[in-house]
Symmetry: C2
Subunit: 421 residues, 2 copies
Amino acid sequence: MTEPRNALYAQSGGVTAVINATACGVIQECRAHPNLVKNVLAANNGIVGILKEELFDTSLEMESEIEKLRSTPGGAFGSCRFKLKAPSTTDTVARRIFDVFKAHDVGYFFYNGGGDSQDTTNKISTLSKEFSYPLHCIGIPKTVDNDLANTDTCPGFGSVAKYVAVSVQEAGLDVRSMSETSTKVFILEVMGRHAGWIAASGGLAGNAESEPPHIILFPEIAFHEEKFLSKVEESVARYRHCVVVASEGVRDDEGRFLSDSGKTDSFGHKQLGGVAQDLAQLVTQKLQYKVHFAIADYLQRSARHIASQTDVDQAYAVGKTAVVSALSGNTEQMVTIERLQDEPYRWRVGTTPIGNVANVERKLPRSYITEDGFSITANARRYLEPLIQGEAYPQYVSGRPDYVRLKNKLVSRKLPEFELD
Amino acid sequence: MTEPRNALYAQSGGVTAVINATACGVIQECRAHPNLVKNVLAANNGIVGILKEELFDTSLEMESEIEKLRSTPGGAFGSCRFKLKAPSTTDTVARRIFDVFKAHDVGYFFYNGGGDSQDTTNKISTLSKEFSYPLHCIGIPKTVDNDLANTDTCPGFGSVAKYVAVSVQEAGLDVRSMSETSTKVFILEVMGRHAGWIAASGGLAGNAESEPPHIILFPEIAFHEEKFLSKVEESVARYRHCVVVASEGVRDDEGRFLSDSGKTDSFGHKQLGGVAQDLAQLVTQKLQYKVHFAIADYLQRSARHIASQTDVDQAYAVGKTAVVSALSGNTEQMVTIERLQDEPYRWRVGTTPIGNVANVERKLPRSYITEDGFSITANARRYLEPLIQGEAYPQYVSGRPDYVRLKNKLVSRKLPEFELD
């Protein structure tokens, strides 16, 4: 019989409406195995909190508070964007991570994030072998971009998809009402830097060609000004209005983002935003239609109030399964969602070697986009529809969702301070 | 015993998440009085549909479809922005309106709109006397801007208020999670051209000073760049992040809109949009924080999925009461909401002479804004909180709201065509 050790859970990258449901799954499953897990520590702001030795003691959180994580958006422990260098046992950052693991007897490490974060999980797995440090290191998927390889979907995406589909449906009814004497074109800018999954989900808003969205602009399809404008004109002529869903990552045929602010984030990715305004200006100038535009930005990925029940269930399940897998002795894995059947939708949780996931980006298949490049196909619909099923309403108090704020008390430091660049 | 006559209902101005709940109230109440009301005609696109003699026959819509209007956003019959000239019996537009009323035996006219639209209701009331045409002409309030005089609130506002409060709360949790290594400032641009009611509702997102929003920018308070930037800096220093709610109508101390596109709508109002981007650029340049921004635009006023139950109830009630009032012989009135008590909130429906409402704009009282101009006071909270109470979820089918699309069959024309400029 082995001695129980601590589990360490951390959130990384852009947060979602359901990443805390995963945290809930991890913590509840760990608590169910006191013979194997002493306590769940949670890093303050992902890997950065590990380096700073800022670890929250989740044992101080009541069961009822942990349960509320299931319906609270954002990252309850804080997240980060931080890229780990190539694994090397002489690297000071790498050594620090394992010093902290050792000082706090971390035997299970769960890193909850997207592609860049799973690269971190992979490197930590590798380092644990090189340091000969006994660690069960499991990646847990999370990304609204839905671009992780080897999983049918990524927790966080289904809820954004539902938010975007519902928003397009609703704003579509609005602009249709206004189109006789006022606004004829409405543009919604959505996330998805390199992959058009979120933009595609806007296509679920309507069932007929006449229903919004009339145009989807995917990052996978090069933007042609004339084709776009003529499609807008055609839609206004036929339906008196035109609803456009534009990915923030729309680019021209030379691969340049339509709206390139020139700034980059800490992973070196271009920081985008504002394509909707550019498109609005284009339509106003060239076609003289009155245009309105919205930029959903963080609203789309934090909208827990309109989360998909399917997504919440999957987010919770990957957390639970990560623990089950680690406690069974596994390491170097990422938990996955496997689709068993489209309709009625059936899924289960699986695992994949972490090396198969890190830094691989899954684009929207061309077969999900119609030939003209402006809509989604029946294939796409078959894939996307199950992911937005079910409403997972949070509790409300005084008209607002009753989201939990944890105590987040740090455990005592055991190591000297560490200088982060 | 008088012969039953037709009722004519029309929607005007920017539509809302609950204007159809008002339509539902009007139609259901008319149907309950077949001895007084033959049929409810609904104008296609407001007053424009009256001029074009495009009138929908609502008797062809099933009771179950009419009931679904209660939970369907947008304007089910279409809306318009159209300003009527000063009432004159020689004006061709004025004559046409009454030709259409006469041809279709319209005895009850219900115009559902905001300040500009109630000006139209007022003019039509005046014209009916000058033409000696027997008409019961009742205005029904509707505006997300909440700026109508002589009513405690305006149907449509409470649901936007709830949307904005919930969105700020959710996005606030998101940016807080990201603030350690990434986004520190989040800006949400909301509607409210001249009055800060919607911006103020963002203040309901949090209860403590540390909770979002940390800054609200009202159109009523002149924008000072330095004060704003120092408040952003202070918030980031104290809470590591800063959430800003910015009204589209933010202006400088000379009354110039911060973001003036130079365009105007058909009422001559400036068409705004993009203040969030300007503010984001300002913060990035001056303070070097990473900033994200969202522009809610039509999403906020069409978000029936997160409508306030209070708002839906009031929208329905003003529709019903308009009919009750007209059938009792009244005219030249607008229906109002009267507040009887703040907590527990109690309200009833009343009426006011239409002349008291037309073209009067109600601004946010200075006592609702804190001395520094960046937050709401306890007074504001007492006023606003009741308006976002209750969740009025629509029915969902396949993961999306089951919004109704009416048949909207036109009644036969009885008049020659009319040339609209």
